[in-house]
Subunit: 332 residues, 2 copies
DNA sequence: CGCGGCAGTACCGGATGTTAT
DNA sequence: AATAACATCCGGTACTGCCGC
C-alpha cells in the first residue's frame, strides 16, 4: 500500500490520453473534446488526484497563498482572531492558503516574506518595518482600514464608516434621553482615532454643544480609564459617555458606579468596540459589532478580484459597524 | 530593471562553478572545498539569491510549512492568538511558514490540507472532523494539551500541569485565610476540565473537606455564572471561590457584590484562565497566566526536533501556569 | 589505484508552445 | 480548423562518473 500520490501522469495514463490533454482537461481550458475531458475528470476522481501545488508554482510563478500580517503588540484583541478566520475561510473557498506572517524586528536580515501571491494587512501603518517590507515586495496588498503612510501603494481596502457609525450611536443616545454626551477617545496615530475624534467634535459642534472628552491609551490600564471617567463625572454634568479604546468598558462601568451613577438610567454608557465580555457585565454594555469576520472575508474577496495588473475597479469598500444595544443605554 | 529573481544558475555562473557545486555549497554539504564554498556564498549574497521554495519542494517533498489548526468556535479567546504567534515566531526562526488552516464542515469534499510537513493543533478532540482529517494524513502532529481520542497518533505534545497549578492556587487561597473553597467548573469534554475537577475534588478530600462546586458552560453566559455563583453563596458558607471557564470572572465578581460580599477580603476570588481584562476589574482578579506564547513556541520546537520517522525522545513536555496574584485574593 | 572535488545530467510534477494528425 | 502527442521549461536536488593527484 502507501501507493505514491497519483500524478498527472497517472491520470493521463488511466484516461488513455497525453499529459498535456489531461492538464488541459483538469483546468477545463479549451482544446479538449468534451468526451476526453470527462474521461480525464473521471480518472482523476477515481485516483483521488490532487494537483501538486509546488510543481504548478514552479511553472506559473503563482503560489496559491496570501500572507496575512496582523498588527504587532495588539494581537491579544479578539478582533484580530475573528478577522484572521474571515480571511482564512474566504481563502479556503477560493483554494488559497493563508500564511500567518511573523513580526520581524526593524533590522530585517531575511526578506520577511516567502512565496505568496500577495498580502492582507489590517490596522497597519508604514511606521511598522514589517509593513514597509511588505509594500516593498511590489506584490498586491489589500488592507482593512487605511494604511497610514501607505497611500497609493495599496491595491484595495476595506474600511469602516466610523463617521456614520459614531453619528448613529450619538443619535441613539440622544433618543434615549442623553443631552450631554462625553467621550473617552484613543490617542492619535490610527485612522480610526482620527475619524472618531473628528466626528465627535463635529457632531457636538453641529448642535452648538461643547465637546467633553479625554484621551487615553490605545490599550489602556484600568487606572487610566478610572482617572479619565472619574474626572469627567466629577467636573462635568454629563448624562452619557462613550468609551473608545478596547477594554475600557469594565473599568468605566466601575468608575461610574463609584461616582454614584446608575448606568443605564441616569448615565448611559456605550463602548465603541464590542467584546465578548460586554454581554457579561452588569449592566451589559452597548457597543459596535465590527463584524471582523466579514471584513476579513471582504479583504480576501477583494484580493481575488484583483486582475493581473493588481488593480481593481472599486478599490475601497466601506463596511458599517452594527450597533448592539444593551442595558447600559436603556434610558430611564 | 525588474531583473528576474536570481536562480541557482546565476549564482553558479557568477561563482564560476557548476550548479551542483553551488547547490551543495549553499546547503553546506560535504563535497566542496572551503574556497569554492565561500565563493558561492559570496556570489549568492551579492546577487541577493533566495532559494525557490516550491522548486526545492518538488524534489524533496518537504514544504517548509506547518499547518496550524485552532479550535473552531472558541477562537475569540485571546489565548489562541497569542498561541498562534508563539508558533509563528518560532517557525520563523527555523525558516518555516505557518499556514492557518480553515475549519471545514464535517462533509469533507476537499482533502482539508495542503502541502505542509506537519501540523500543530491545540485543545483538539478527535470529535472534530478537521482534527480527524489531520490525523489521517499520517503526517506528524504536535498538540498543545492532549488530544482526546487521538492517543498514540500524536508525535509530541506540550501540556499543562493543571494539577500542580490548581493545587498551588488552593494553597495560595489557604495561606490568605480561606477555609472553605468552592469551585465553578467547566463541563466534561476536555482534558483540562477533567484534570481541574479531579484535582479540586482530590485536594478537598485530602483535607477531609466537602467539595462545593457547580458546572457551567465552556463559554458561559453572564446568567449562567450569576446563577452558579449566586447559588453557591446563598446556600453554602464559603470564603473563597475559583471560577474555571474563560470569561466568568466579571460576572462572578458582580454576583458576589450583589450577594453583599467584599471580594478580596471576606470572599477571595480567583479565575483559572487569565485574561487581559482581569487587571481592569475592581478588584483586579487573580488568575493563571497560561503563557500561551511560550506554549506555542514549544510546540513548534517539538515539531522541528522530530526525526524523519516522526518520533522524538521526549514526546510530552509539561508547562506550569504562572499564578498572577491580584487584589481579589488579598485576604483580610 | 583510491579518493576528494566538481561537472554533467536525470529527475521531481505540472504548464505551455510547437508540431503532427 | 479542431485535437492530441511531443518537447521544453520552471528551479532545485541528488546520483553518476570523470578528472587529476
Amino acid at each position: 500500500m502507501t501507493a505514491r500520490k497519483p500524478t498527472l501522469h497517472d491520470v493521463a495514463a488511466a484516461a488513455g490520453v497525453s499529459i498535456a490533454a489531461a492538464s488541459f482537461a483538469l483546468r477545463d481550458k479549451a482544446g479538449v473534446s468534451p468526451e476526453t475531458r470527462d474521461r480525464v475528470l473521471a480518472a482523476a476522481r477515481r485516483l483521488n488526484y490532487i494537483a501538486n501545488v509546488p510543481a504548478r508554482s514552479l511553472r506559473t510563478a503563482r503560489y496559491g497563498a496570501v500572507g496575512l500580517y496582523l498588527p504587532p503588540g495588539s494581537t491579544r484583541l479578539p478582533y484580530y482572531t475573528e478577522f484572521a478566520f474571515g480571511v482564512v475561510d474566504a481563502a479556503d473557498r477560493h483554494g488559497l492558503s493563508v500564511i500567518l506572517l511573523p513580526h520581524r524586528d526593524a533590522d530585517d536580515p531575511a526578506p520577511t516574506t516567502a512565496f505568496v501571491d500577495g498580502y492582507v494587512v489590517v490596522d497597519a501603518t508604514a511606521a511598522d518595518a514589517g509593513i514597509r517590507a511588505i509594500l516593498d515586495t511590489g506584490r498586491p496588498v489589500v488592507s482593512a482600514e487605511h494604511v497610514l503612510g501607505g497611500e497609493g501603494r495599496i491595491a484595495a481596502s476595506v474600511v469602516y464608516d466610523h463617521d456614520a457609525a459614531l453619528r448613529a450611536l450619538l443619535e441613539h443616545l440622544t433618543r434615549r434621553g442623553a443631552t450631554r454626551i462625553a467621550a473617552v477617545l484613543p490617542p492619535d496615530g490610527t485612522a480610526w482615532s482620527r475619524e472618531l475624534t473628528a466626528t465627535y467634535d463635529a457632531w457636538i459642534a453641529e448642535r452648538g454643544g461643547i465637546p467633553i472628552s479625554r484621551t487615553i491609551s490605545f490599550i489602556p490600564t484600568a487606572d487610566e480609564v478610572d482617572a479619565a471617567v472619574g474626572d469627567i463625572l466629577a467636573t462635568e454634568r454629563v448624562d452619557a459617555l462613550i468609551v473608545g479604546p478596547s477594554g475600557s468598558a469594565a473599568p468605566a462601568l466601575d468608575a461610574a458606579h463609584r461616582a454614584g451613577r446608575q448606568v443605564g438610567s441616569d448615565l448611559l454608557l456605550a463602548a465603541y468596540v464590542d467584546e465578548p465580555m460586554h454581554g457579561l457585565l452588569a449592566p451589559a454594555v452597548t457597543s459596535f459589532d465590527l463584524v471582523a469576520r466579514e471584513v476579513g472575508a471582504a479583504c480576501l474577496e477583494a484580493f481575488v478580484s484583483l486582475d493581473d495588473a493588481g488593480t481593481v475597479t472599486d478599490p475601497v469598500q466601506v463596511m458599517l459597524p452594527r450597533l448592539i444595544v444593551r442595558a447600559s443605554t436603556a434610558g430611564r
